[in-house]
């Protein structure tokens, strides 16, 4: 049976209550909208890129505890990282929340983000955890369109 305390860990509840980097980033040179049409979760991600490096990042929006905490933790984890490093994390994070990567047994670059691994026991909530990462992925690719969790090529 899925364990609620695995999903709603103290760290996640804390990020939900006091999300980090939750603001408009005036120095941003890229921003991206992310949207989950099934539940109405919405976020705007702001990136300040210095060449291939994420110099600063912030977000705003509304959503459930999982989507907000995931976005908050993501911004903390990617600041100062290169685009290539972040793409690797994006891939690993996806596989982790889908239950395809066990952070206990597999090498990874996710650091504290493994706290969100409990989401894999709650399939209905995987999209909440991955919305901010989808949005980041699109922002890095320079896509202008609003990112939706309901795109047909979306593996999640």
């Amino acid at each position: 049976m899925a364990d609620l305390s695995e999903l709603y860990q103290q760290v996640i509840l804390d990020h939900n209550k006091k999300p980090r980097n939750f603001r408009v980033l005036e120095t941003a040179n890229r921003h991206q909208e992310g949207y989950n049409p099934l539940c109405g979760d919405q976020l705007t991600l702001y990136l300040e890129m210095d060449g291939e490096t994420i110099k600063d990042v912030a977000f705003q929006g509304q959503g459930c505890a999982i989507s907000k905490a995931s976005a908050s933790m993501m911004t903390a984890a990617i600041k100062g990282k290169s685009k290539e490093e972040v793409e690797t994390m994006f891939d690993e994070f996806h596989r982790m929340v889908k239950g395809e990567l066990d952070p206990e047994t597999t090498e990874h670059h996710l650091g504290r983000l493994t706290i969100l691994s409990g989401v894999r026991e709650f399939p209905a909530r995987v999209k909440c955890a991955s919305l901010s990462w989808h949005t980041l992925h699109a922002a890095l690719a320079g896509e202008d369109e609003i990112v939706s969790t309901e795109q047909p090529d979306d593996g999640l």
Binding site: L4, L7, Y8, L13, G40, G63, C64
Partner: protein, 420 residues
Amino acid sequence: MKAAMERGAIQSKENSFDVERVRRDFPILTEQIHGRPLIYLDSAATSQKPQVVIDSLTRYYAQQNSNVHRGVHFLSQLATREYEDARVKIQHFINAADAHEIIYTSGTTASINLVALSYGRKFVHAGDEIIISAMEHHSNIVPWQMLCEQTGAKLRVIPINDAGELLLDEFAVMLNPKVKIVAVNHISNALGTINPVKQIIELAHGMDIPVLIDGAQAAPHLKVDVRELDCDFYAFSGHKLCGPTGIGVLYGKSHWLESMPPVFGGGDMIASVSFEKTTYNALPYKFEAGTPNIADAIGLGVAIEYLNSIGLEKIAAYEHELLDYATETIGAIPGVTIIGTAKEKASVLSFTIDGIHPHDIGTILDQEGIAVRAGHHCAQPVMKRFGVPATARASFAFYNTKAEIDVLAEGIQKTIEVFS
């Protein structure tokens, strides 16, 4: 299953409604979810099915399966009779004047789209107006928006107050000769409001404007009488009515249906076909092209018989008791806000909890075996009107109990504790 039995033992004294007996008709109610007895509070999304409906589907496919209106052989005639008998049951269920006013569709959405496409094609033109309300489900918004895009007509919206009630005075002012149809729901799926549809119809008819009622939420919960309402169209779904998914009804007054063009062409909807000209079949077949959903139509007939055997009045009274109890119990929990506080309400309780997103509420309640809906309920304009991104919604049917509402209240308390 001791807990469920105890729950079932609660009996409503006021109207001699035996919920324990009713619960035994629904096999799913003995299921365990995450190791807890299922508490199904999502009947506004879809109702559960009694054994007689489930059996009717098996019986049809195992012993009677055949196409309708086509064969002289025994099974085809049997299937045709049962399929048409179901239509008559539906006719009596909503007190339509004639069985041919009952058009089978796949559900409420298809019924509304049928009117938008057919009536719209013939009667709605550039510069005309269509009136809906601010508390419609997307299925009673989008088909009209699409029609407006195609024709150049304008969509107008009846506003609502903070309780979630339509502003009838505003509606009266909106009526003018350019309005070609009014389409409103009988009961709001997101708020539970029972709308004064009879008054709306009277006002619209005062200017010869036809009215479509979206009855998806009403047909399962109160006695619908289309002739007493005098509505021109009434749309509802089988699956919210203890029937199968994939079957629904469009009721339309004969004179409207006769004047409207068919939407789909094909078999069954024709009287004669040549390459020069096709003559359309009579009602209701003009609107039922192709092999219909025979099994589920028969299943819907069985569901209606089942509901009739209990009595819609008794169902409505018992559900009202549940709603009152839930409103009192859940509304008293600190931090809980009930969205939708109309004076006239059906058994829908939409709520928010301070600082906790409805999805998190839904997940935590799910772990307790409690099924509620969390989200925008396909009514995003309603959410916007109340300034919330989403709500949690508990909706009650006649097979629910007050004891289940107590468990919901405990689940809400637990949710608040998790986030404290």
